[in-house]
Symmetry: C2
């Protein structure tokens, strides 16, 4: 016996066949006499036998491993707070079920290469983390027959992908609704990264609710961001130097809201006294730092957990009809959004005029 002990070594030592050994070691010991069972068990223990998972995977035709694939766009985990929470949820579900995780971070945009890497027989299914528009991950159908679940992007139906995500639309709608209820009429918006579906969904919800309330959206108050906090600060710079200002600004995510707040501090514009700011995501460090940001909180951990569950279900049942599962977000009211009528009547009192003067949906 050179190297690691194999099933054959155990069998020899116990004086029985490989089959017997394999069966007993897999827990099918009711097939054998107590005596045999003991012999095998102790032989295995004495040799320190550990089954080789590669050989097992080959024989069983399943690997008990699932792939977690990061979009090439945001393959650097570091600043991808989203991925951490989701990954935690995935791990939490999979670990007790003896599934392992293979982390795949393609660095190319060639879908054939990407999928060759993902679907090479080493995983039973994959979770795609937040594929963006144009991502090679979305070419799934042409390159793989693996069960797949996408998280963090609510994709159009035609991609035929199962998905778990938060309900961006409903959450942003309720946030906007609430800001309006605080008496704000003049509301600005900082948009998220243009390649993220969520950015569009959040913007659309904002506009819809504004329209429902008959409030105009002034395009000079709608600024492009990219979900990064610098872009929030930049947008703040752009916005705050305008002649007329909104009384409130909704940022498509917290990172940008944090950047926005910083810029406000820099320019010595008090929040929420001069302007109200809302975010979306309820990120850890904003909370940690006591920024008291009013925002939408949602359970990313749960997204990961449910995605893993959905994927395992697909793997085990062979069910392949794509499903979509949307989790609700919760409005968290803190202190960066004030009542509009309590505002100092700086340039912001224009607000009331705007309600009439506004032009488009």
């Amino acid at each position: 016996m050179r190297g690691k002990p194999t099933l054959r070594d155990v069998a020899e030592r116990a004086g029985c066949s490989i089959t017997t050994t394999s069966n007993i070691l897999q827990g099918r010991s009711h097939l054998y006499k107590e005596d045999m069972v003991q012999r095998v068990l102790s032989a295995a223990h004495e040799l320190g036998y550990r089954p080789n998972s590669v050989a097992r995977s080959l024989a069983r035709r399943r690997t008990a491993t699932i792939g977690v694939v990061l979009d090439p766009q945001h393959a650097r985990l570091t600043h991808n707070v989203y991925a951490h929470d989701v990954l935690d949820g995935i791990l939490a579900f999979l670990e007790p079920r003896d599934y392992d995780i293979r982390l795949i971070t393609p660095r190319t945009n060639d879908p054939a290469a990407v999928w060759r890497r993902i679907d090479n027989g080493s995983i039973d299914g994959a979770i795609l983390i937040a594929p963006v528009m144009g991502s090679p991950l979305l070419e799934w159908q042409h390159y793989s027959t693996l069960p797949v679940v996408a998280v963090g992007s609510t994709l159009p139906e035609e991609y035929l992908l199962s998905q778990v995500d938060i309900d961006n639309d409903a959450a942003m709608a309720s946030l906007t609704e609430w800001v309006i209820q605080q008496g704000h009429r003049a509301i600005g918006f900082i948009k998220g990264h243009p390649l993220h579906w969520s950015a569009h969904q959040r913007e659309r919800a904002f506009r819809r609710v504004m329209a429902q309330h008959g409030l105009p959206v002034r395009e000079e108050w709608v600024l492009q961001g990219n979900y990064g906090s610098e872009s929030g600060a930049y947008a703040a710079g752009q916005l705050l130097c305008q002649k007329e200002l909104p009384t409130a600004v909704i940022c498509a995510n917290d990172d940008m809201a944090v950047g926005f707040l910083q810029k406000c501090r820099e320019l010595e514009i008090p929040v929420p006294d001069a302007i109200s700011v809302a975010g979306f995501d309820d990120i850890y460090w904003a909370r940690q730092l006591g920024l008291q940001l009013t925002t939408i909180q949602h359970d990313r951990y749960q997204v990961g957990y449910l995605a893993a569950q959905m994927l395992l279900h697909q793997i085990e049942t062979g069910e392949s009809r794509p499903q979509r599962m949307l989790l609700p977000g919760t409005l968290v009211v803190r202190r960066t959004v004030a009542l509009a009528h309590a505002l100092a009547s700086v340039p912001i009192s224009e607000a009331t005029i705007l309600t009439e003067g506004g032009s488009r949906l």
Copy 2:
């Protein structure tokens, strides 16, 4: 041909043997006539053949996968900023070399179970992320013969583990040195998590430098934290209500420093006017939020990158003597540490007295 095409299918289609096919597909085409090579290549392409990595691993006796193992203590990735950066570095090194990563998060403290999970033939080596004292990961020697590299913990030699880490001792020494150079004599310290080696190393360096300068360390100014920001805030509460205060406080990491700063703000104690605060780690969000924290910056990404490199070297050469590699940290001077003599002479002017009155190393 049911299911995925195999090497045999390609061979049949190309009208040659499996060996030939395998050789050509692995790039050994100089062995064959151009004609044959073309036949095989196009057959493979037409069938959409993709080699099965599990079978390949079994035959080659290597998996081209390395395991990244999180200590059960901090298996939740979410708030483990450290792990993200390291993981990024690991990925960056491994991806272009066609190695994959298996993420392993044991949830138990039984070393046998943990190592059964890690070393089951599915990986060629492992990187252990920040094993803490008493971690089952440290039992390595008894349970595995896999090449292993530990990162994020500078362990005692007797564990016989290769390691890559930052030089906690040197970095904390230079930070302390610098604070002293700013004229501070009365310096407090907030300790890190007692199970982390780094916490002890940082504390020891602090004490040593203080002693070298003949400065006493007042034990009522040395408070236990746990690397979490809440613990920093708590320690601040404990410290700041004392009769005599230090003029500066060094926190064993940034998270605690952030907590400390928040508490200061809460208590309306101006930093650095009333008290100076230093951190260690230079975390992203502290920077992001413009806290201007004076701290030690170090390259966690690089730690991961080098660890992966070291591990691959061990795997490929069979070299197994444990090596240790320590990366230097860099002092980043921002604004939370002021010159001591520029301080308002609040209770803090006691400082000068302390230099004499102090008691112990």
